[in-house]
Point group: C2
Chain length 241, copies 2
């Protein structure tokens, strides 16, 4: 059986404007690889209703899981939850359990939940909450869409809780062989090795340093023995260590 | 008149697997913002023909420019050029001018261009070359799609040459006001300011440090005076410096 698939949707004008460098994509990619969920696509879209709805619906129909990051805070530009609800065609409103959780974050409990903060307790109908041990405001899963915060520390801790509940697949293992050979001289024989190991994904990444041009060959797959065999073949063919 | 729009398409199993942290998106976002081209979407797709063709066609119809990164080297996993040609429905093959440029990279000129390297001289019909002063293998523009290398140093230098030939818009300027106030207390009044300045995009980004919770308010827009006016209003309303 093949591994579950996933997409990530980053809601982020601050990424698209170049103000902030995304950190969540790199983190999510590593975590999913470890547990055998194949991240197949990432989209970064702007903070516009139609863009978010379109991306949620495009991705949730195509992949087993969609992980979103960003846009679930208390301010006017936090529009992710509303648009996820719209994508699913369900109502959204403040939910009692979310309000109770949120209240634990403030000195005066519910009395400190002003109208803006109440926005963070608005949950689409039918969703399941995702814990946020840091600032309490929960994320949520609805169908196969998992909605999390954009602040990296909070994204990461929400993801920890969420992934513990998801079923992974066969972890993808990888092995890298570093060749001090330019990519153009590697390419021909490497293509033949790739053809001989169809179940191993073989990537080739050129580098250059003071010693000249070289190429990292990365073997990836769920069958540890096959990955090792392909790496061994690369070492023999290119006379590498 | 509104600014030209753009999307980025990253072809990158190595990003999706978490092996490599993308650097080109952040660089491109900053450069485009400087010259008034609005980056509206980024997609990262896997090294699969149908995914690349689908993304190229989806994005080129929607935005004024599409910038791609990755997948134009000599190895079996470099399939971007073929798929861009397929997306446009045009033939692709080695082109004389591209071969001549490529030859300048090798000690023995054309004699060093083996079958794998010849792949890097394959250019879709009707495309215009993009210079690569580092490793010579050119990128290309076809229609509104600009195809560049994934290695950051090479992506950046290709982009330099390309952007010099594109027409920008009004540069987007931004101003940040740092508030030592939690986002939930900022949200209400900030929403009113945002409504009063519809031509200014106002984003709110929470942070926490040893001193407690705070919020960065970022005003962005093409009208310097309006951006400054909105920032001034934020300072007054929140009693900030």
């Amino acid at each position: 059986m093949s591994n579950p698939t996933a997409a990530m949707l980053v809601i982020g004008d601050e990424i698209l404007s170049g103000r902030t460098r995304d950190a969540n994509m790199y983190h999510l990619a590593g975590r999913l690889t470890e547990m055998g969920i194949d991240l197949k696509e990432v989209r970064v879209v702007s903070d516009e209703d139609s863009e978010i709805v379109g991306a949620v619906n495009g991705l949730r129909g195509k992949f087993d899981h969609v992980f979103t990051s960003g846009g679930i805070g208390p301010t006017h530009d936090d529009i992710t939850a509303d648009n996820v609800a719209a994508a699913f065609g369900v109502p959204i409103g403040p939910r009692e359990d979310a309000i109770a959780i949120l209240a634990t974050n403030y000195a005066n409990g519910r009395d400190d939940i002003n109208a803006a903060r109440m926005r963070m307790a608005r949950i689409p109908e039918g969703a399941v909450l995702i814990d946020n041990p840091i600032s309490k405001a929960p994320g949520f899963s609805i169908g196969n869409v998992h909605v999390m915060a954009g602040v990296p520390k909070i994204f990461e801790v929400m993801l920890d809780g969420l992934l513990a509940k998801l079923t992974g697949g066969d972890p993808v293992v990888s092995e890298t062989v570093r060749l001090h050979i330019p990519e153009g001289d590697v390419a021909g024989p490497l293509g033949e090795i790739a053809s001989a190991f169809p179940a191993v994904s073989i990537g080739s990444y050129p580098f250059s340093n003071a010693e000249g041009y070289g190429t990292n060959i990365v073997m990836r797959g769920t069958d540890l023995a096959l990955v090792a065999q392909a790496a061994g073949k690369v070492r023999v063919v290119f006379d590498a260590e």
